[in-house]
Amino acid sequence: MAEFRIRKSVPETVRKGEVFEIKTLVTHPMDNGFMFGRDGKRIPRHIIHRFEAIYNGKTVFGADWHVAVSTNPYISFHALAEESGTIEFRWHDDNGTVHVDSVYIQVI
């Protein structure tokens, strides 16, 4: 899909000190550079090569992705609930764009 679409999920609320799951799924071709298009030309590599999660300004999790990550990359990971606030996600695209989105997490 041409447009970069984002799906994300965190629990509605979480208790302080608890570990919670964070999931994201985005639309991206993750062209691995090994495939050939209909015109017989090789489709150049075009992937998201880095993903980061920043919780209240602090990077809590990061990932480097290589060409083996499936089309429409999905990831599930965890964070420790400290304070209510935002978790910012950053997807670094090969084309230089950094796609940014965030969720609010309520810590009780």
């Binding site: 899909m1 999920s9 799924l25 089309t71 429409n72």
Partner: protein, 266 residues
Amino acid sequence: MSSTHFIGAFLAVEMLAAVVLTAHAQERQLTSGAFPLSGYHYMGTQIQELQDDEFLNPGRFAVDHGLELWLESDGSEGLSCHSCHGDASVSMSGVAARYPQFDENRRSLVNLEGRINEMRTEFMKAEPLELESEEMLALAAYLTFQSLGEVMDVDVSGEAARYLEEGREYYMQRRGQLDLACSQCHDERAGMMLRGDRISQGHVNGFPVYRLIWRSMGSRHRMFRWCNWAVRAEPRELGSDEYLSLELYLAWRGRGLNIESPAVRP
């Protein structure tokens, strides 16, 4: 087959499977062409999970996109689908399960994509959407999603009967360099492996479908083209009369199956 017979047949096979309790029973259930079984049952659990999990299902992006298009005004009348139809979960519930259908005014078969374009050109005075474009697939997926779980039930009485017959003929006719009919794979060989893929009964209840090898959504007609390619036959045009009749036949052949679009297939 009436629906009670259908359920009876299904229960009989289910019970058989329970009694025999072997891989054979499973195999028999999958290979039996006596009752319709969704393509879902022929998929491995890793693919089924992609379809079942609302979060993971990539087809749901198309549904979300479809909602945006539903609300967006276009064309010289300044109208959106929503302007006339309101909440699609009410106005469009069960609609997709009745397509394709015979259109009295046009005196021809029309499928969901055809109806969408008719709305755009006649009511909205907008350009028709290209078949198989992202927008068309998104709108079709959104409309079909309003019938999720509904039973496929097309009307094949009256004028439609002729098209049903045409569709059946196309389905049964051998074609291509391999000289194979649709029925030879999807009726006679359902359950068998074609390299890594298990051949299903070839139903259309999962469409528009997300196919991993396409890396996108695809319509029923795109699938027909793919299967035509499979036997090296000349594919027909998307939206062609032959494919419309074939679509009607397949929808009727799978009557009783629940709509499960957006399905996910390998």
